[in-house]
Point group: D2
Chain length 260, copies 4
């Protein structure tokens, strides 16, 4: 930037560097998505296209930032896990938070039309962002468990609630009343006994959220004029809908993490 007698004001910038050696989780969350979902006719309780759009944006963020080792999304939120050793933007908090949320936001609008089939975007949505440091693998895994358990609890509730309302013709208020204080087992029971729905058969994306991981391997990059497949070693992002609370996922996907 140009030099002038005013340049001293740059010294007022206070740049926090996130503690080295920790995992950095950046979580973004849609602002006022209750209203945003209403305005855009999101299916209740889960809109497959809307969730797919979230995944597309997260994949784009991951591709921009190879230091992201895993991402987890559900509802209007996404968590990006940056590796312990990363020196992305010298671990500057503002840079990391703002770059992730900005890329996600513009991708959201960018991919809207191709994903939300015929629905018109009424206004540009906002997301907030926060970076959190986790010093140990245990705390990182507990963080991700927290988000996936949250997904499960909310989804079971919402699935039951909207089934009661839409299939059972029960008023919102009455459904809320009946579910107050109910346990998981109760909600499973209502779904099964009253509506013949086995919660286990619900789509994995709804029950587990989406887990983005890097895959590496040979990928067909083109075919020769003769039709022979040309394969190269490539890295790409895979979308999973699996359990990440249980240790098995980590043992098979991130064995190194557990040793540290």
């Amino acid at each position: 930037m140009a030099c002038s007698k005013f340049e001293y004001v740059k010294k007022f910038e206070q740049d926090e560097h996130l503690l080295p050696g920790c995992y950095i989780v950046v979580r973004i969350d849609g602002r006022g998505f209750h209203r945003f979902a209403e305005k855009h006719d999101f299916q209740k309780p889960n809109d497959i296209q809307a969730l797919t759009l979230m995944n597309k944006c997260a994949i784009e963020v991951m591709k921009e930032t190879p230091d992201i080792m895993l991402a987890y999304g559900q509802s209007d939120e996404y968590s990006f896990v940056i590796s312990r050793e990363s020196i992305l933007f010298q671990r500057r908090r503002s840079k990391i938070e703002s770059m992730v949320v900005s890329q996600f936001s513009s991708a959201y609008v960018f991919h809207w039309a191709s994903t939300m089939e015929g629905r018109t975007l009424q206004y540009p949505p906002g997301f907030d962002a926060r970076a959190v440091c986790y010093p140990t693998t245990k705390t990182l895994l507990d963080y991700l468990s927290w988000r996936q358990v949250d997904c499960h609890i909310n989804n079971l509730y919402n699935t039951t609630f909207w089934t009661m309302v839409e299939k059972g013709g029960i008023s919102n208020r009455d459904a809320e009343e009946q579910l107050k204080g109910s346990l998981s087992v109760n909600k499973n029971e209502i779904l099964f006994s009253d509506y013949g729905i086995n919660y286990n058969d619900e789509p994995e994306m709804f029950k587990k959220g989406s887990v983005l991981v890097w895959e590496e391997g040979l990928k067909e990059v083109k075919r020769t004029p003769e039709g022979v497949s040309v394969r190269r070693n490539r890295r790409w992002v895979e979308v999973l809908h699996c359990d990440i609370v249980c240790i098995d996922f980590w043992v098979s996907r991130f064995p190194d993490l557990l040793q540290s």
Copy 2:
């Protein structure tokens, strides 16, 4: 959020609250806009449509956040000034930075098509963000002067450079060489003597950047069936291209600020 044994991880969030009593400036800046401008055929050195798009986004951010008292933009950057007394998001740094940059980013894609006339957006752009506290009116004004002087210096340079290249048929390298170490007066002279361009006659938006301020007054909100204008008291954002280094702007627009 749902409660579980994993919820303790929320305690790892470290929320900085920006010092009360200070002006908060949030500056956003396009990431890699050198390349972005190339890819989208931005006119050199100033693309009116691109600058207009920046202004549209900034206006949208201001409307979302009435605590922003003024905004200043030039090139691929925008600074938003939040008032000293603001308790926006309890002055939480991450919330403020992320909400501003997220809204700006999604607005940029949202308004692209209607502003950039026929140019297709190749990829979703990213912006970084930082919030900076300024404790006094003097330091705030010096901050804004810093940005406007930066605009002036860059614009005079770029205008001269591209005139030499495009009108004078001089190679990029030679133009750079000739301008190295030159003073403002030299560049004005080159423009005038060699190309008959009076730099003063360049568009104010290019020379001064854009200043967004709130206006208040009666605005026509509709017309009756009989054609009578119905006016209501309204607040709206006005785009100016004026000098904000000189004290006159502040005396006439923000007299209270100077007393504090």
Copy 3:
């Protein structure tokens, strides 16, 4: 420090720089001085020697740090005001806080014997410290008013309480009960009517606390063998017990502050 393969750990230090342009107030406060005062037979409610010792330590801190423009003390606490422009330790928070509190603490023990006449120090006392930024002169003055009003309120209460207990033979519990919810005027009345004490006549040090300011002028530095006084220009710390809530103090002592 010596260089080794372990030196990377130094990068984990996170140094906060206090916002430029703000006043920095470092407040220290005795830890558990309720008990410390008991153990060392402090006179109730005010022990002149103990307060004098606090002042001595504060003067020593000021002399070590010329950037401290004023200090204010009462009870077991002291506030040091560092000027806006100071670059003491590059405004590093930890350095500033720790140096002030460390010097104060060791001075407290150092000067104990010469100040506390025959009382033996039972154990080394601890003080906590915090640095707080104040962006404007108004907030700084309000800070100091806060501390002086606190001194006044506590001292009026304590003076009345201990008079009732020690002169009136009232039990601690009964005195507390009678003073619950009482106003200043009530306490003045009790002191005057029941015990003939005019609160206004109490020592200024007790009512107002202690204000340390720099003085400058000619001071006798020695006398010649002939007994002629030799005077040099010197700077020293003066102890005042005056009102700092009212603007008059500031007008006469720090006129420049009010212009900024």
Copy 4:
């Protein structure tokens, strides 16, 4: 504290909470101890009494703060290691740093007379303090290795230097010149060949510094009138001068740490 219209200024306090789950190391270091050592005739390069005084103060700090699991001292510095789970002062940075350094400083003056045999304290010394978070056991151990290796390097240098000066009659400048760029092996050689000193025979306190750890066990607390020893379970601080770079110390003393 008393309530007044000025109390709003308390909101300007910005309290950083150190990241949970990390070890917290508080390192204090004497300010200007080069001069302090000169003024108080510290023996060169190691003054046993001065080092013993440092240890006494550190023991006192540890006793005040049971969350300190280990401390390491050398020269004019001491590092205190607070356990990962500690919620001391809710992990507030300023509180932790200031309480440690304040207690250390006042203890230093308090125990001076009884430790420094006949030497008079000329002026109260100051120490700075900083708290640093270490997220993993590895980084913590590397931190401590860093300090112990620093101790070793400085002590070998200083021992050789002062031997050359005091025993060899070499000037300071010449000794410095001869040692410039020398390796450990060279210094050992000089000591051995020129002065018959085997560096390995130097006192462990000088070569390794001091390691403070908690011990637990039966301790005689009194004797009955009949002379029978009465023993109770007690916890006390033990001073060691052992190697903490090598893993053996940790395996035997802190086996749990290595599992985490």
